[in-house]
Amino acid sequence: MLPYIAKRVLMMIPTLFAISIIVFTIIQLPPGNYLESYIAELEAQGESVDRQKVEFLREYYGLDKPLPEQYLRWAGGMLHGDFGYSFEFNMPVTKVVGDRMLLTMIVSFVTILFTWAIAFPIGIYSATHQYSWGDYGLTFLGFLGIAIPNFMLALVMMYVANVFFGTTIGGLMDPEFIGKPWTWDKVKSVLEHSWIPVIVIGASGTAGMIRRLRANLLDELSKQYVVTARAKGLPPRKVLRKYPLRMALNFFISDIGSLLPHIISGAEITAVVLSLPTTGPMLLNALKSQDMYLAGSFLMFLAFLIVVGVLISDLALVALDPRIRLSGGVAR
């Protein structure tokens, strides 16, 4: 198994490299650069800009250097933890981002847990009670979860929560905890505010997972060994538990590969609407103002998160599923 792990980790490297080139190209494509957007924005707000300052900054940030050199500086910097410089905030990207990456991961992680917790029982129920009213009803709810655009849901829920529950609008915690160290009160506050984002982001992921789980489980349940087990007289619950459920678990782990990108991108837009202190709103602003290092670093981070998540899920799958281990490859 070790050579398998090593191989997978090694394969990650060219993938990440290719991703970084793509990200860099994307960031550089829009016309103009950060400084021009900066000037334009200030002037639009009626503030005047010191021309000389602008020229100074242009030279200082190396915006006049050729592209390959800018890329090497950026990529090279990333390798030793220097994600470059954010023009907008006038400080290293790592400081700007700060808590946001952590909060993004927390929100995504909690959403995945939520998705699992909901999808698992519902998927099993649906598969075992196929074509019943419960199945239809839950499937319909699941579809609804996919169909309602999460940003609209976020907007409406946010307003409703404020009017009916008095939750502060926007943000992941009450304002007095911002920037303060983590105490129980802060954790409570975060949890209080998280339920809307988690529901909104998780809604469509849950529905998809329910459907896939149901399909997989149905496949398993129609196999010969299940029929045999039933014929042997095993009680239905035990039949379910002994083998098909384990297959379902396998499926859960392997499904992270498709779930994770979905959740992360869903989290981005929801975060923009709800103004959460995660990477979403910052990414959108950075893209709009072409703060190159900041936007690029965010994209790299998100892609990295996904690659690592998929790797972990593959490794977990290998650990769980002896068939893959023995055949030495991944069949996903």
Partner: protein, 636 residues
């Protein structure tokens, strides 16, 4: 815990006579000896603020002022609202010395600035002429820190001033030709800073600690070299360096990035009220950063004490509904711009056929007459705006009714007549007029693509221009692309807000009315010509535009207010006649949300960037909370 409290109270009682006038938030520090007493913190002659406004009262100390902003960067608004300047505008738009005790102005050429003796920075160090000298010698004239020379506002005909330090509290700037914009630049919302906290910045300057050490400090902190680091720390307007001493009423204590700024009172602030109590009244300002779309929602939910930015007119109904429930009031202030949405025919457009038309006043007048301003007013501004050409507002002394009415009525017959007189009588099958070269008259209006207000107005204008036989196509863009297109002549017409200073006095610069900078959307190349002193752009050819340039130079050389007023009126009259920019509706209303018990905020005011600095000229340092608990001791 109890013992500490008792000790504190005892200390306070003992020190009570000394603390009589201390802001309660600072009382503990003064009693403990960490802060000098009030008499040593204020300058010998502090500035006495006594606002002549009905309803204005002397206030009480205490409270936290909550506001909402949409970006980290908006922390700079506290420098705008704080409005601590060498000279500043009051509510009547008169320039008054603020930080300075006195200004001697000799024919706008020689300015002698007198500082207040004993004035200190927010960290207790003295504020003296040395801070001006440091700026002049070690920043503005330092090749590393200012590779591109002096700030433009200090230049007259490319020459800088002569700078002299007369004594510890007096400095002098002298030019050979008048620099009438000098004081206005010092009083701007984003002002010209001619001083620096020298004692703080010297530790990062190569001249004072040596090149090697300065560079070492800089690179250790992540900057490229000492100059970059110095620049980064030295952002008095950006207000993002909590360690930088300031003269503003509140000091920012929160470094970026953050979603919550906490600003505390400046114990060395130089202003007092008429009873000798040091301002500001409010102890802390808390700014929460949130998405701009959520700001109206959060304001309506009662999370702010004072809010103006990011509230739009169409939020009024929503805010009004929640007024009683959330204990605030919504006032409507007037936006001080020449026109909410104005069209700028580009007289420097590439296309020669269009260029000829754009430069013809009859064409511009026809376009202006073809706009149904009444409809725009009704639809977009609830009928509460004022239909007008793009000119100064009635509350300015330079206003004349004929400026507002010039070609601003809705008269399709007259407009069509003008277009016919221009020879544009051919039409195609769709009813569109044809240009002399046969193309249909399709005007493409570039927009920066951000404001639904602009989109809506353009939609309405499009329909009425159709009746003139002219088609309008909006072309949304991104801001910098938009500007580039205008400056390079690719855009034939653009849309933006109107005159940015719509409440001028004769002493203020009429530079907006003449081609003086490339940034002007109606004549970027003529403006560039002036800006670069002939080394770029194009020389203006129409006689009326040349007259404007000439009048502007006259204003700069003028010696009396009467002369300046004459120039202003002449320039405004030319604009009214020539319709260089087409205004639509002005005096639109801006909602301002004020907590019920926040006093000294005017019910009616003007939202103006320069002059005025939004809340700045209304003295935010004198706003106070009328609450019973505020009278007690509050911890900073």
């Amino acid at each position: 815990m109890i013992r500490r409290l008792v000790a504190l109270v005892a200390l306070l009682c003992l020190a009570a006579p000394l603390l009589a006038d201390e802001p309660p938030a600072l009382a503990e520090e003064v009693a403990a000896g960490r802060l000098p007493p009030l008499s040593q913190r204020l300058p010998r002659t502090p500035r006495v603020v006594d606002v002549e406004r009905p309803g204005w009262t002397v206030g009480r100390y205490g409270g936290d002022l909550h506001m909402l902003m949409a970006k980290d960067r908006d922390i700079r608004m506290m420098v705008v609202y704080g409005y601590t300047r060498l000279v500043g505008y009051d509510e009547q738009l008169r320039l008054r010395p603020d930080i300075l005790e006195r200004v001697d102005d000799d024919a706008n050429r020689v300015f002698t600035l007198h500082l207040r003796r004993g004035h200190k920075w927010s960290d207790g160090q003295p504020f003296t002429a040395e801070d001006f000298r440091y700026f002049w010698e070690d920043v503005a004239n330092n090749k590393d820190l200012s590779p591109f020379g002096l700030p433009r506002a200090l230049l007259v005909d490319r020459h800088g001033p002569r700078f002299e330090v007369l004594d510890a509290t007096t400095v002098r700037y002298s030019w050979d030709s008048p620099n009438p914009q000098f004081l206005a630049a010092l009083a701007g919302a984003n002002p010209l800073f001619i001083y620096r906290p020298a004692h703080y910045l010297k530790q990062f300057h190569a001249r004072y600690v040596g090149l090697a050490k300065a560079n070492a400090i800089a690179t250790a902190a992540g900057s490229r070299n000492w100059a970059g680091y110095h620049q980064k720390l030295d952002e008095q307007f950006r207000f993002d360096n909590p360690a930088l001493p300031t003269l503003e009423p509140w000091i920012n204590t929160t470094p970026l990035p953050t979603t919550r700024f906490v600003l505390v009172r400046n114990p060395y602030f130089h202003r007092v009220d008429r009873e000798g109590r040091q301002l500001p009244y409010i102890d802390r300002v808390i700014i929460n950063v949130t998405d701009d779309k959520l700001i109206p929602a959060r304001t309506g939910a009662g999370s702010v004490d004072l809010q103006m930015r990011y509230l739009r007119f169409d939020n009024y109904t929503f805010l009004k509904q929640a007024e009683a429930r959330n204990r605030y009031h919504v006032y409507l202030w007037e936006k001080a711009i020449g026109s909410q949405v104005a069209l700028y025919p580009n007289q420097n457009v590439d296309d020669p056929v269009w260029r000829k038309l754009m430069r013809d006043a009859r064409f511009r007048r026809a376009l202006s007459l073809g706009i149904d301003r009444h409809e725009i007013n009704e639809v977009v501004y609830f009928g509460l705006g004022e239909e007008s050409a793009n000119t100064v507002l009635p509350r300015s002394e330079l206003f004349r009714p004929q400026f507002r009415k010039a070609y601003a009525s809705f008269d399709l017959t007259a407009a069509n007549g003008l277009l016919d007189a221009l020879g544009l009588t051919q039409r195609n099958d769709d009813g569109l007029r044809l240009l002399p070269d046969g193309r249909p008259m399709e005007i493409i209006v570039d927009t920066a693509g951000e404001s639904t207000e602009e989109t809506d107005v353009l939609e309405l204008v499009r329909d009425s221009w159709r009746k003139l036989g002219i088609a309008l196509f909006p072309r949304p863009s991104q801001r910098e692309v938009f500007r580039k297109r205008v400056f390079s002549g690719k855009a034939m017409m653009s849309v933006w807000s109107g005159l940015s200073n719509a409440i001028p006095t004769p002493e203020m610069s009429p530079s907006e009315l003449a081609p003086t900078t490339q940034e002007q959307l109606e004549w970027p190349m003529w403006g560039q010509y002036y800006e670069l002193l002939g080394n770029g752009g194009e020389k203006p050819t129409p006689p009326d535009v040349q007259k404007l340039v000439q009048l502007y130079d006259e204003w700069r050389q003028a010696r009396t207010d009467d002369e300046r007023e004459r120039v202003w009126l002449a320039m405004l009259a030319i604009h009214a006649d020539q319709v260089y920019t087409i205004g639509t509706v002005t005096r639109a209303l801006q909602p301002v949300v004020v907590r019920d018990d926040l006093r000294n905020v005017p019910k009616e005011g003007v939202m103006s960037w320069d002059p005025g600095a939004y809340f700045g000229m209304y003295h935010v340092d004198t706003f106070w909370f009328d609450r019973p608990e505020v009278a007690k001791v509050s911890k900073p």
